[in-house]
């Protein structure tokens, strides 16, 4: 049975393994490691386990399961296994830093330290191994009007259905590209939502580029499901293809979408606009932990560099699932299992022989689960003008309200990279810490300099990767050396008395 950690005081000072994120990768990693006797803590921000894909599945009714389909329902079995595993689970916990143990406050026995905030109290927790399973984010989708109320991410609508049984009540427009767009359209239609249009922004040339990968896709489990989905959506709503630009209108709230197809344009009235153009690895914690990363041209996103078992460039830190590159729920779970298994091997809870046998089996299953992804990546790769808008008035950084035009102006100063750009504009300095502008800023700079985004690099991310109050930080362990470093000297009770 899992141990529910209710408060920061209930956390042990150290664990063999800390897993961050309770989606398919994190759950599988934690379960696997715990079966080998590792003391495991799984920390997750949400109310209940499942991540975004299996969100609220453990309290879903039969009606919910039918609505969301068998891929969602599959999460139930995983969560049941998790609930019966022998490990600690901290829900509503924010992990805001991961890194090497501090030279002073570290216990000398554990190589890593994880900053966790739970119920308004922050604590550093020691760990031998950390598995980051922080999942993916919706790729930023900047165009004029995307910041106004009534415009939301498609994933947000899915979360609202799963966790609250809420569906759009008015005329709903879906715009963008990717399988999730059609999945959501189909789910909403099935729930009786008025889906006015699906505005497909997939570049027309994608079909040609994806063609060479068709065969492996056709024989993958995605093929039949995908085809059925497309037919279903086409039959039940208006699908507009070949879209070259979109713009949202409304006074204070979304009311219409202008859709351009080459020189033609049309207005679609609506009450809610849902956006999606693929997902990208959630990098903030992995980068703040110091993990190396690369640009993945096919994903049009950065991903951390990991070996076949998920090990990152930082000793002891592994990354599994979508956080390491977009792979989907099934492959994420397998990667999590592999990372958990490898942690058990590293900490001598498992023999080489048994490890190799399991690893080979998992690798085979993983290869099978990944079949067809290349086709999907090419087929639904978002177009350049939807990643870096041409319109200079478009907001790129939602927090600091920095426009694409401002970024272009600064790019023209010859800034060496996104960090200098951030310093000059505040783009990426808000509370979201670049999650919704990072890719836009980097790709804009790369376009300007005519180099790969990999050469431009990403923001230098630092803890806390989520805002933490000064009160919480102030209560972290103090040391005399740190006091001297800050105040210049350590004041003892006697010193104060002398002063009077």
């Amino acid at each position: 049975m899992i141990q529910n950690v209710q408060s920061a005081a209930d956390l042990a000072p150290a664990y063999d393994l800390v897993v961050v994120g309770a989606g398919p990768a994190g759950l599988s990693a934690a379960i696997e490691a715990s079966t080998h006797g590792l003391a495991v803590l799984l920390a997750d921000e949400n109310e209940s386990p499942g991540g975004q894909i299996y969100r609220s599945v453990d309290r879903a009714s039969d009606a919910d399961l039918t609505r969301m389909g068998p891929d969602y329902a599959a999460g139930r079995r995983l969560i049941e296994r998790f609930r019966s595993a022998d490990l600690s689970y901290a829900r509503r916990a924010t992990v805001w830093s991961v890194g090497p143990a501090d030279e002073e406050t570290g216990d000398g026995a554990h190589a890593l330290e994880v900053g966790i905030s739970l119920g308004g109290i922050a604590r550093p927790i020691a760990a031998d191994r950390v598995i980051l399973a922080t999942g993916a984010l919706e790729r930023p989708f900047p165009f004029p009007g995307w910041t106004m109320p009534g415009v939301m991410a498609a994933g947000a609508a899915q979360i609202l259905v799963k966790s609250s049984g809420l569906v759009p009540s008015g005329r709903t427009i879906l715009a963008g590209t990717g399988p999730l767009l059609y999945l959501l359209a189909s789910q909403l239609l099935r729930a009786g939502v008025s889906v006015t249009a699906v505005v497909d922004t997939t570049p027309v040339e994608n079909c040609r580029l994806a063609l060479p990968h068709l065969l492996s896709f056709a024989t993958s489990p995605y093929a039949l499901k995908g085809l059925k989905l497309l037919l279903d959506v086409h039959r039940r709503t208006r699908v507009i293809r070949g879209v070259t630009a979109i713009e949202a209108f409304g006074s204070g709230q979304f009311s219409a979408l202008r859709v351009r197809r080459g020189k033609k344009s049309l207005h679609i009235q609506g009450d809610l606009l849902l956006l999606h153009q693929g997902i990208a690895p959630n990098l903030n914690l992995t980068l703040a932990a110091g993990c190396d990363y690369v640009w993945d041209e096919r994903l049009a996103a950065f991903r951390p560099t990991v070996d076949v078992c998920g090990a990152s460039s930082v000793p002891g830190v592994s990354i599994a699932g979508d956080a390491a590159g977009i792979v989907g729920a099934v492959a994420s779970a397998l990667q999590g299992e592999l990372a958990g298994l490898t942690a058990a091997l590293d900490l001598n809870r498992l023999g080489q022989g048994a490890y190799q046998q399991r690893r080979n089996q998992l690798s085979r299953e993983l290869a099978l689960a990944l079949r067809g992804r290349t086709f999907i990546e090419h087929r639904f790769r978002p177009g350049k003008t939807f990643r870096v808008p041409e319109d200079d008035g478009t907001i790129a950084c939602r927090c600091e309200e920095i426009t694409v035009g401002k970024l272009r102006e600064v790019a023209a100063l010859g800034v060496p990279g996104p960090n200098q750009m951030k310093a000059f504009t505040r783009c990426g300095m808000g509370p979201c810490q670049g999650r919704l502008c990072g890719l836009t800023a980097v790709e804009l700079l790369a376009q300007y300099r005519d180099v790969s985004p990999g050469e431009v690099g990403y923001y230098r991310l630092r803890p806390p990767i989520k805002p933490v109050t000064l009160g919480e930080l102030a209560a972290l362990p103090h040391t005399e050396i740190a006091i001297v470093a800050v105040a210049g000297f350590v004041e003892r009770a006697a010193d104060g008395a002398q002063g009077k």
């Binding site: 109310e47 009606a63 984010l137 609202l160 966790s163 609250s164 809420l166 009540s169 927090c399 808000g430």
Partner: protein
């Protein structure tokens, strides 16, 4: 702008938004409860004062920041509504020291 599916049977919870009594379902996040109650604009930005509302619902965009029980800049999508909770629009930057 959002409606509750008829097959959902959670019990209801009452909270206030800007002082107005509002109903939510057990288990709703603050952001979901506000959307269900028809509020899609829940904060004003500290930069230009533009209206914003929940966008990602998964804790990454910080667009659903609201004041909860007097504490500013709370992520509405990451906080579960409880009976009697006081939720208010986050109007620009937080005023330090005004927590009640």
């Amino acid at each position: 702008m959002f409606r509750r599916l008829s097959d959902r049977k959670e019990s209801s919870v009452s909270f206030t938004f800007n002082g107005v009594p509002t109903m939510a379902s057990q288990g709703d996040s603050v952001a979901a409860a506000l959307l269900a109650a028809g509020h899609c604009s829940t904060r004003r930005t500290p930069v230009s004062g533009a209206a914003r509302g929940p966008y990602c619902m998964m804790g990454v965009c910080f667009e659903c920041l609201v004041k909860i029980d007097g504490r500013p800049n709370r992520q509405g999508c990451m906080t579960t509504v409880v009976t009697g909770m006081r939720v208010e629009t986050q109007d620009g930057a937080a005023m330090p020291g005004q927590e009640e």
